[in-house]
Amino acid sequence: MIDYSLKKLVQLVITTFGVVTLVFFTLRLIPGDAASAMAGDTLSGDALEALREQMGLNEPLFRQYLDYLSSLARFDLGETITTRIPISELLLKAVPITMTIAVSTIVLTVLIAIPLGTLAAFMAHKGRKTLDNFLTGTAMILDLMPSFWTALVFLLLFSLTLGWFPASGMVSWDDPWALMQRIALPVLVLSVTQVATMARITRTSVLEILSEDYVRTARSMGWSELRVLFRHALKNAALPIVTVIGLSFGNLLNGTVIVEFIFTVPGVGNLLITGINSRDYQMVQTLIVFYALLFVTINFATDLVYRSLDPRVKF
């Protein structure tokens, strides 16, 4: 287990390094350079040159790269280009909001998807096709609904028509109830896709396990189907499900960008869109790296959880 964690950790470090390097050099591929792209038509001549100097673009490329690495190591993420606010400060404010949304979604998803997927699998196993077909069909459609469209439909239904949730407004930590109402719709929208994915995976895994030989063994010892389902099938299905939670975290992050944009939630995703629209490449670079590292770390963690759940892995 320790060997394995170490190996994975080394991989994590290599990937992180690769991500940082890739993003840095890709941004330097912008036609012209970042400064002129950022400035657009607004700056010219000396002003543009000053901006280049400020961004360090006149240094040799490799020097810029080293500078970037050393500032990253010091957690110096630079400043926004127009307002001169340290990016780390913005990030510190935005991350808790995005993470609250993400974690709430995961919790909600697990609570709904696993029972639903198990039920579908059990029905399929018993040859009761109708309910299973209904559940899998619904899951497929929900899974494929574009999340920005779902968001708009929910906004139209629950906010504009029924008035259950506020469509906009302050996001503040001072009033937890207001905050909950404010992020309820984003979480619901994200959960639609997540529930669909995870219910499908749960169904497939449980169904597969229900036809395993050891399930038949348990049945041959006189255990009821329900006990076999809970004691054997779910326990074994937990392994693939954990992996999927990790992998679908990527889709979840994709989704947060969209719901934050639509519901004007001041999370990391909104920062990113703002950064792109104001051509603040420093910020875009930092945020993309942040997302990638978060995703990689989550996968690293789920991998370790998986390994610790599986007794076949030697400690």
């Binding site: 060997d3 394995y4 170490l6 190996k7 080394v10 196993h125 018993k126 040859g127 036809s211 395993e212 030989d213 050891y214 038949r216 063994t217 348990a218 049945r219 041959s220 010892m221 006189g222 255990w223 009821s224 189907e225 054997h232 326990k235 074994n236 392994l239 759940l309 599986d310 007794p311 076949r312």
Partner: protein
């Protein structure tokens, strides 16, 4: 079966049981009106080829079938109570408690993420109402009885920490732990090596006899039947075609199928140089079950009546019944069908030219471990093997899994490279692989599969190749229409014929056949073996025939090499090695193989060789076999015996081989 006027009611009385699989392609009656009885403490074997419905029948008794299989009719009377009518709830009180079940594959039949203790103790508590501590003690007791060393400690192990043989012992302990009256065992030893199989069979036999439990034993191995059963039911196409006491069936079978089946085994009688008797054709496709007798298309004695009316099981004596219109089945005339006892046409015997010479071959695999603290480990797959094969000779290589026989084949063919040692081959070698289902590219037609060696070697032009491919396929007894097919459209036996045709394409001097028949059913097996021998006679090729099936190897081979843990422990003429084994391992191996003859089996010493194969990571310092050898001395444990001449024709690696 005929109504039996018996005073004591049988333990299990199955009447006209039918099981159907409803699929999109149609309904298949896998079990089609089966009736039989098992008395108290009786061991009944059910034999049949794959698809005969024997497993479906066993699983139907307790309704353990997975969908779309469903029991659709009949009665299953256990002590007079009809299990077919019980609710799931009531059945769950029978399952495990009154009837224990043992499954085929020990590697997958235990829950991988649960300790053995969890899986064993809960049923005991539930069915026998014991406390947790009592149940644990009971479980330990059973583990001890089935021969698990250190049961106190091993009970908390996970299944993956045990070998296949140990897991099957756990399975048996579990099935017996709630003291059932009947044990259903579905091919419980098929996945195991022959020495382990012998141990498991012995355990089953002893423990059921001890507890007085009756047993229903599903198998395709007639040898096991002879060793194990009191009575035997022969199944064909979903029906029991013959039922009777073991000794009677083996001596005087009455159904043509049982009669043919018994003769296809390469046993002693077939060793007099004749071809193996074979059953022509294939079992019927159960989706389109034929009218009348299902066996008639393959039966030498079929009459007009067989096509229209299906014979019922009728009495052939006390406790003996067969389903055939002819009282004696094939009868004497058909038993002697021409070609069967014909001697091999052109038996010149092995030539003197050496075709393959292997000298001091070694193959080691290194287990990779990049970040592991444990050092890289060395697996010694082959540990100094020297062998030679003469022209027109068949060298049989036998041994259990892990003995290195397949690695040897791969090295001979150049798929793997040896770590040390030399190989000399005069001419080209070719290979016939074990699994006819994975040895062909599913996207290639048969014509391309056979032609591939010719194409990559630039043999002739396209027309010449096509001509040769047609010649080859006719050589293996298939029509040219098969050339346009894909492998998925062929049966197992047909695939192996194609494999033979392909192997012959480049006129090889030696053909290495790695378990070429072990994936095939008995009746088809004989066809392939005869084909190989005919081709050898005609084309003068040498064979290296690798198998764990000792009877087949003996039938096929001129000389035999017995391998254990990467070494040859005995080498010599096939008959000599089998009749008078010199090495203790050879003796143990031959003893372990059940012979399809109840008389022989009855006189056998009941002590199978103990222990399991040591890990090839950790080969003993002295004789590799010393850990299991009943004759091992201190010398064996420290000093490694070399393979040396034992007599004029034989070599053995044992200090005490005299």
């Amino acid at each position: 079966m005929t109504i039996q006027q018996s005073i004591d009611t049988p333990l299990l009385d199955v009447r006209d049981m039918t099981t159907e699989f409803r699929t999109e392609a149609g309904t298949v009656a896998a079990v089609n009106g089966v009736s039989f009885q098992i008395g108290q403490g009786e061991r009944v074997a059910v034999v049949g080829e794959s698809g005969s419905g024997k497993s479906a029948m066993a699983m139907s008794l307790l309704k353990l079938l997975a969908l779309p299989g469903e029991v659709t009719g009949g009665q299953v009377l256990l002590d007079g109570r009809d299990l077919a009518k019980l609710s799931e709830r009531q059945l769950n009180k029978v399952r495990g408690r009154l009837v224990g079940t043992i499954f085929q594959d020990p590697m997958s039949s235990l829950d991988p993420v649960m300790r053995v203790s969890e899986q064993m103790i809960a049923p005991i508590r539930r069915h026998l109402g014991m406390s947790a501590a009592q149940a644990r003690a009971e479980a330990v007791l059973w583990l001890d009885k089935v021969g698990i060393p250190d049961p106190e400690g091993r009970i908390d192990a996970y299944p993956f920490e045990m070998s296949g043989g140990m897991r099957q012992r756990v399975m048996i302990a579990m099935a017996l732990s709630c003291r059932p009256n009947l044990v259903v065992a579905d091919e419980p030893t098929t996945a195991l090596d022959v020495t382990i199989q012998a141990q498991i069979v012995e355990v089953l036999k002893t423990l059921t006899a001890e507890s007085g439990a009756a047993m229903l034993f599903i198998t395709h191995d007639l040898g096991l039947v002879a060793r194990f059963a009191h009575k035997v039911a022969v199944m064909y196409a979903g029906r029991i075609v013959e039922f009777g006491p073991v000794s009677e069936i083996f001596r005087d079978a009455r159904h043509p199928y049982s009669q043919s089946l018994l003769r296809t085994i390469p046993s002693k009688t077939a060793l007099e140089g004749g071809r193996l008797p074979q059953i022509p054709g294939l079992p019927p496709d159960m989706k389109h079950a034929p009218d009348g007798c299902a066996f008639r298309a393959r039966c030498a004695a079929a009459e007009d009546r067989c096509a229209s009316e299906r014979p019922a099981l009728t009495s052939r004596g006390p406790d003996h019944a067969a389903a055939c219109w002819r009282p004696a089945g094939l009868g004497e005339a058909e038993k002697q069908d021409p070609g069967v006892h014909q001697p091999r046409r052109n038996d010149q015997g092995p030539g003197s030219r050496v075709v393959v010479e292997i000298h001091n071959l070694e193959k080691q695999f290194v287990t990779p471990s990049l970040f592991s603290r444990t050092p890289r480990q060395l697996v010694r797959a082959i540990n100094g093997v020297s062998l030679r094969v003469h022209q027109r000779e068949t060298l049989g290589i036998v041994g259990e899994s892990g003995c290195g026989k397949s690695t040897l084949a791969r090295i001979l063919l150049g798929i793997d490279t040896p770590t040390r040692g030399e190989i000399f081959i005069d001419g080209t070698p070719q290979m016939i692989f074990q699994d006819p289902f994975s040895s062909f590219n599913p996207k290639m037609r048969v014509s391309t599969i056979i032609a591939e060696p010719l194409i990559v070697k630039d043999w002739g032009d396209a027309a010449a190749r096509a001509e040769r491919v047609r010649w080859l396929i006719s050589k293996v007894g298939l029509g040219p229409e098969y050339l346009e097919r894909y492998p998925s459209e062929l049966s197992g036996g047909q695939r192996q014929r194609v494999a033979v045709a392909r192997a012959l394409a480049l006129e090889p001097s030696v053909v290495v056949a790695d378990e070429p028949t072990s994936a095939l059913d008995v009746s088809v097996r004989a066809q392939i073996i005869n084909l190989l021998r005919d081709l050898q006679d005609e084309l003068g090729i040498s064979f290296v025939f690798i198998s764990h099936d000792l009877l087949t190897v003996r039938y096929m081979s001129d000389r035999i090499a017995v391998m254990y843990l990467g070494e040859v422990v005995e080498y010599g003429p096939a008959d000599l090695v089998f009749e008078h084994p010199v090495h203790p391992y050879t003796r143990a191996l031959i003893d372990a193989v059940p012979v399809p003859d109840p008389a022989v089996e009855a006189n056998r010493s009941a002590v199978p060789i103990s222990g399991e194969l040591p890990s090839p990571l950790d080969i003993p310092a002295g004789c590799a076999f010393a850990t299991r050898c009943p004759m091992a001395t201190d010398r064996c444990r420290t000093e490694k015996p070399q393979l040396r001449k034992h007599s004029r024709l034989r070599e053995a690696a044992c200090h005490y081989a005299d």
